[in-house]
């Protein structure tokens, strides 16, 4: 009874991998590799005070020199990468795990409940990450853990917003109507249709939020409200080196470059992923 048509199933969408994505992935890859190396090897024992001169310029023995307290800078940079990644992962993890379900919930509940979620979200949005982290530090004292959680909470609204907007557009598509007409319940629609289709935007958002988290942590450590003295942190290194800027500029430049490197990496990765995952932006 049916008429077979000419079979020409074609058009597999081959997405061009863009330069931004590659550069971003390489920059982030270096940070990840650095952190991984520090797990098994560091040139010197972590945070050990050496019996050598302070303020050494980079040299053969101490690749990136030594600081005021005669510690090896390269070792600190390696360990700092770990802190940086840890902060990013925890902060983004907290934000995504809470923000994404909230966003989907807000999109799917049309009435007062969805309104309530978004209004609460807007109020949380009035507390920028740094401010929230300072509040947390005022109460609980400054530590890496407190900083991570505070930054994470402050990042929830951005995830919830992005997810909600994207989920709303997914919910307006005919394939969701088709699923409803097929008898699928709200949970199945959320899990089978909405989540997979908002995932790419959430990944992009995660990458950008990672960069913001790194910046916030560095600022907190610099203010003395994040990672405390004696623990490795790029922001902390900057703070300690500021007073000796004139005599030992490399102590500022090296952690500064490390921070900028990782922020740049995650921002580029986010931009690259946005172009890679969104066919609409192909011609940019």
């Amino acid at each position: 009874m049916t008429q077979p048509i000419e079979q020409e199933i074609t058009r597999s969408r081959r997405r061009p991998i863009n330069a931004t994505l590659i550069v971003g992935a390489v920059l982030v890859g270096v940070i990840v590799a650095t952190a991984a190396v520090s797990l098994v090897w560091t040139p010197q024992a972590p945070m050990r005070v050496l019996s050598t001169e302070a303020y050494q310029r980079p040299n053969a023995e101490f690749w990136l020199g030594t600081d005021r307290l005669r510690r090896d800078v390269f070792t600190q940079i390696l360990l700092g990468a770990r802190t940086t990644l840890l902060v990013g992962i925890v902060a983004v993890g907290v934000a995504a795990l809470i923000g994404v379900p909230l966003g989907i919930l807000a999109a799917m509940s049309a009435g007062w409940f969805g309104q309530l979620i978004m209004r609460s979200n807007d109020i949380l949005l009035a507390f920028p990450a740094l401010l929230l982290a300072i509040m947390f530090a005022a109460i609980y004292g400054g530590s890496t853990q407190v900083a991570m959680v505070a930054i994470g909470i402050a990042t929830i609204p951005s995830f919830a917003r992005v997810t909600r907007a994207s989920a709303l557009s997914v919910l307006r598509t005919e394939y969701v109507t088709a699923a409803r007409a097929a008898g699928r319940g709200p949970v199945a629609i959320a899990v089978r249709h909405v989540l997979p289709n908002v995932a790419s935007l959430v990944i992009v958002q995660a990458s950008v939020a990672f960069a913001i988290a790194i910046l916030a942590e560095a600022a907190l450590a610099y203010l003395g409200l994040g990672t405390p003295t004696g623990q490795p942190s790029w922001g902390r290194m900057l703070y300690e080196a500021q007073s000796t800027l004139r005599s030992a500029p490399h102590l500022v430049l090296i952690p500064g470059i490390a921070i900028a490197w990782s922020v740049l990496g995650f921002n580029l990765l986010g931009d690259g992923l946005r172009d890679y995952l969104d066919p609409k932006l192909e011609d940019r």
């Binding site: 058009r11 969408r13 598509t173 005919e174 109507t177 088709a178 097929a182 089978r192 289709n197």
Partner: protein, 306 residues
């Protein structure tokens, strides 16, 4: 303008007995939407998207619903497929109520009535394989054995003229016409009695449109379905349907068997709609744009509609 009432269901040509139980019955169905308030003094405006629609459809009938943008045909379609609730009125499918039921209570409807949508790009989830798309109504209906589902999906693919190996592909790997075939296969999956098609060919190229119209014709015939076919295009509806309901501003202005409607339209709006269709034969016979517009204006009685 008075509505021309020829409400009684017309038994379609193939049916011997005159009156059967209607498979679909709408009684004074209304749906109002409240727009956001624009001023503190006046109450928020109310849009009557569907305004008192009555309809009976006999089993096996092919009914067309024709209307221009904003006529309320999409809202009506959402109502009768249980995706939206009427403000008032009754909707019955096979004698069972659709209105006022929760989606959980409507599981039976999902196995009785299925939909085919307008936009072949957005009606298939881009992140799902064809296998899962077509099987979705089966999963929802509780068919849990994956092997059985797969078997059914393969059969369905064949009956819409797609090869077996389409099963592992994603929607973007198909052309618009092929995607509408997948859509039809999904709709057929739970073995429905009623197929509701919402502008299924208006997004397609002319050369592909005929293929999909033929397919719909074939499955309605082959699976013994009742067809509700919604379109803005009277000539398509004329080709597909036995009976046509013309909708404007939330109301049916005229319901009549297709040929009767074309040969002798009663309502001025129907006349205007028919007059406005440009046809190749009329154009080649010398009907100019001015003549076309004149006819439309004549029927409208000078009422400017845009």
């Amino acid at each position: 303008m008075p509505a021309c009432t020829r409400w009684a269901p017309i038994p379609h040509p193939g049916m011997g007995h005159a009156m059967t139980e209607p498979i679909l019955k709408l009684t004074d169905v209304r749906r109002e939407f409240r727009r956001p308030r624009t001023s503190l003094r006046t109450p928020p405006p109310v849009v009557r998207a569907v305004n008192g629609v009555n309809l009976e459809v006999a089993p096996g009938e092919r009914l067309g619903i024709v209307g221009e943008s904003g006529s309320g045909k999409s809202t009506l379609l959402r109502l009768l497929s249980g995706l939206d609730q009427p403000t008032s009125g009754q909707i019955e499918v096979q004698g069972r109520r659709v209105d006022g039921q929760s989606s959980r209570q409507l599981k039976w409807l999902r196995e009785t009535m299925q939909l085919v949508f307008q936009d072949p790009m957005s009606s298939l989830d881009p992140r799902m394989r064809v296998r899962d798309i077509i099987a979705e109504p089966l999963v929802a209906a509780g068919m849990s054995a994956a092997g059985k589902r797969e078997e059914r999906v393969v059969t369905l693919l064949q009956s819409v003229g797609l090869p077996k190996d389409a099963i592992d592909r994603y929607p973007h790997q198909f052309s618009g016409g092929q995607r509408q075939r997948i859509s039809v296969a999904r709709a057929l999956a739970p073995q429905p009695k009623i197929l509701v098609a919402d502008e299924p060919v208006s997004a397609l190229d002319v050369s592909v449109r005929a293929q999909v119209l033929n397919l719909i014709d074939n499955v309605v015939e082959g699976f013994d379905l009742t067809l509700i076919f919604v379109s803005h295009d009277l000539s398509v509806v004329r080709h597909v349907c036995d009976r046509v309901a013309v909708m404007r501003r939330g109301e049916f202005v005229e319901v009549a068997p297709t040929e009767e409607l074309f040969a002798d339209p009663q309502h001025a709006y129907t006349k205007q709609l028919i007059a406005a269709i440009p046809t190749l034969s009329a154009a080649l016979g010398g009907r100019t744009a001015a003549a076309l517009a004149d006819e439309v204006n004549q029927q409208a009685g000078g009422e400017n509609r845009d």
